[in-house]
Subunit: 470 residues, 2 copies
């Protein structure tokens, strides 16, 4: 429990108690407001920047990163199992023998050898593409940004799952898109309701540009789109003329090793596929990619060159060397076993300590999506949870419209099984106190539906997901 | 002359002659047009993407990167002098001992140790800032993108030097800014004309958001803003309420070692300063930074998190280690001497072979800005130059309005002195043939002013600078 779960040192002194700090953090986003009042450039910002401010939960995460807090909030992969000595040796050889290339500017589209290897990685999920279809990006987050940049005008609609990845919602918002959610169940996004959603939006004269989906081990939902639904979803999007944006960082992390075909494989001209090495290898090199229809790919490269000139040769060649010289598939298998053990710890602890909640049981990936007992508000409860030395991400972060307060995302990727069990135990204590309060003061509705549905939070949480929430 | 000047292998077969390939490349951007016709998503792009297409000169650069061509076009630093073995050893130690941090997600603002070191680097140019004022970015290109993103609405004006950096013009254009140029002379941007420009724009009801300046060893102009003009420029911007965007990758590369104070040092609240390790160390890690007033810095971090989540820990820690363990200032001194020798080769060869042209004599940096003899058009001449196995960037690339055809940028950073002399000799041959044609067919005006002024090129060149033109 002494492990620091943050890759960055906390800036506040670690001697103060988490409880005091959580109270202070919860008390106000006063700093940001004061900064704004004193900002001499306040009147100069672009329209798209007006909503940009640190979310309330960011302040709490500074506290949640303290060693005494069990964080079930972050999406950081567990890297201790990586063969660091072998990686060190190969990176040293890379710099010593090919340093003049590794340290130089590279191609805007990305290193050709790495793009060839990416094709092989994607073949495991049924994607057949050519290296020329691939654009390497600074993490798949940059690919998300670039796709949105080239497609979305202010006011255009992006349809996303309900809930959806907080980092994608932040991108869509930064381009002033209107995000419309379409619900998921245990088999992923529901085709019939998606069809209705698109039809309704068309009837309302909306321009729907993208259908953003995380098909495998959804963040935060924990579910996957079933094999049966995949072609149907792609067909619905095609019929409505909507480009599918398939975000797939977790596809190879199925606990049973079974990999479903990518949406892209059903209709390569109708899908932009996003991949990443952040979860199957390591996020620190910031290497992801997009696969896109030819003309779209061409624009993505031009947009990327405007944004960053080119991705890092040093990072790309380090990853290329890792793929070529290490047993990367063996490493992925090891990750799958590690994360399965942690998933088991998570759902076991939930069943033991939080039977009044309900949750998804993910078959892969990093997250479970927990519905709180009626009457509880995950966002309102967070400061008290942090005070009790456990952190999570309230469901509101995963909705563009402020709903989701009755849910929380729990991550099992980074903490050990023991930490997970201890974290859930602490969480159960907080929930129990909250339920006692709810019973006394009657914050639940008479019919048992959660009060939080009627008092939606503001959608501030999606402003700035931050790397903590990856 | 057998050295491949490109970091990427040319895709076309190297057995074909440069001449034939240059003709083919010059013949048409047919591929892009065909791609567009077949693009099923043609009707879906955002307005900002409509202008995104590969510039005509991009096709030529694929040819210019062949080994038989002397490229005076690229902005790649010369890296052979770097202590690659020492860097390899320190990177290996970094991964072996701190790999779990280096390979993990990091802070959106950037590594704190590196930000402290950046403060020390900037102190050499009179910048006194706090590590909290710094945002680390994926090269300073990303900082350019982020500053534009948070300040510029479509139709807002950015005032830039005439000429200006092609990569910045591409960013401004991608945010649908209107770029207005204000001229430079041998002492940098001219204060009196800048004052007039801003006054005229205000009178016309324009919203001027940024004054974009490269104060030291201008790309492509080769000149620096004089010590006397610096406070005047900052004062003019302040009086007109315009934020200065100071782009300073070359400041430490003065051939006499004399460093002028940054514009930021005159008025920290009125300037966003951009720095980079690409020219003083190496570009392959893609690490640059911005220093900004507090509230602006806060928005830059949020915008960067939306764009890429966080910069690469591996890259940042590699640079931090290099700064801490190698004699980086000694290395910069070595670069200065190397580039001075190449500058001397360049201006010597120009005086010998191209006396009919005029050029700036840079006191640092990578570039000289050459004015062709009257009647010649650098853009029209480029295919013939590549056929004669020499490449440059036509002046049109550095203007948002298609002017500049009477100029070219010659880089002396990457080729050896012998290559530079040979390149200029070839270029002189091309110019001489062009002048013969101009004499015979009378493309020059009677009064000797260059015909190219009246036939402006389209501003396509700025669409996609690409890493070749960094």
């Amino acid at each position: 429990m002494t492990e620091n779960l943050s890759p960055q040192p906390a800036t506040s002194p670690t001697t103060a108690s988490a409880a005091a700090a959580a109270r202070a953090a919860a008390a106000g986003s006063g700093t940001a407001a004061a900064g704004t009042r004193l900002d001499p450039w306040f009147g100069s910002y672009a329209d798209r920047a007006h909503g940009m401010r640190a979310s309330e939960i960011r302040a709490l995460f500074a506290v949640a990163n303290r060693p005494e807090v069990v964080s079930l909030a972050g999406g950081m992969p567990y890297l201790k199992g990586l063969p660091l000595d072998a990686i060190a040796t190969s990176v040293a050889e890379l710099v010593a023998t090919r340093g003049a290339t590794a340290l130089q500017y590279g191609s805007g589209q990305g290193d050709e050898s790495l793009r060839e290897q990416i094709i092989e990685v994607m073949r495991l999920e049924g994607v057949s593409a050519h290296p020329d279809d691939v654009v390497v990006t600074t993490g798949s987050q940059q690919a998300l940004d670039l796709v949105t940049r080239i497609f979305v005008n202010p006011g255009d609609v992006v349809v996303a799952e309900a809930p959806s990845y907080v980092g994608a919602l932040g991108v869509f918002r930064s381009y002033q898109a209107e995000v419309v959610h379409s619900p998921i169940d245990e088999h992923g996004i529901v085709p019939e309701i998606l069809e209705e959603t698109l039809t309704r939006l068309e009837a309302a004269g909306k321009t729907v540009k993208l259908l953003y989906l995380i098909p495998n081990f959804h963040n935060p939902g924990g579910v996957s789109i079933s094999l049966e639904r995949r072609p149907r979803i792609v067909e619905i999007a095609q019929r409505h003329g909507v480009l599918v944006l398939e975000d797939n960082p977790y596809g190879l992390l199925a606990f049973d090793g079974e990999t479903l075909p990518a949406l892209q494989s059903y209709h390569p001209d109708g899908v932009v596929y996003l991949g990443s090495f952040s979860k199957t290898f390591a996020p620190g090199y910031r290497v992801g990619w997009a696969v896109a229809p030819h003309a779209v790919r061409e624009k993505l490269v031009l947009a990327s060159e405007a944004a960053i000139l080119c991705p890092s040769n040093a990072s790309q060649m380090a990853i290329s060397t890792y793929l070529a010289t290490c047993d990367w598939q063996g490493q992925v298998k090891q990750f799958r076993e590690l994360y399965r053990e942690r998933r088991d710890a998570m759902v076991g602890a939930l069943a033991e300590h939080l039977p009044s909640a309900s949750w998804t049981v993910p078959a892969g990936g990093f997250y479970t999506w927990v519905r709180l007992p009626a009457g509880l508000d995950a966002k309102a409860m967070l400061p008290r949870a942090v005070t009790a030395r456990v952190a999570y991400v309230p469901g509101t972060a995963f909705y563009a419209d402020g709903s989701g307060a009755d849910h929380m995302r729990l991550s099992f990727c980074y903490p050990t099984p023991d930490q997970i069990r201890e974290g859930v135990r602490r969480l159960a204590g907080v929930v129990s106190s909250e339920l006692d309060l709810a019973t006394i003061f009657g914050t639940g509705d008479a019919d048992g539906s959660p009060a939080s549905w009627s008092r939606r939070s503001s959608p501030d949480d999606v402003q700035a997901p931050g790397p903590d929430l990856a």
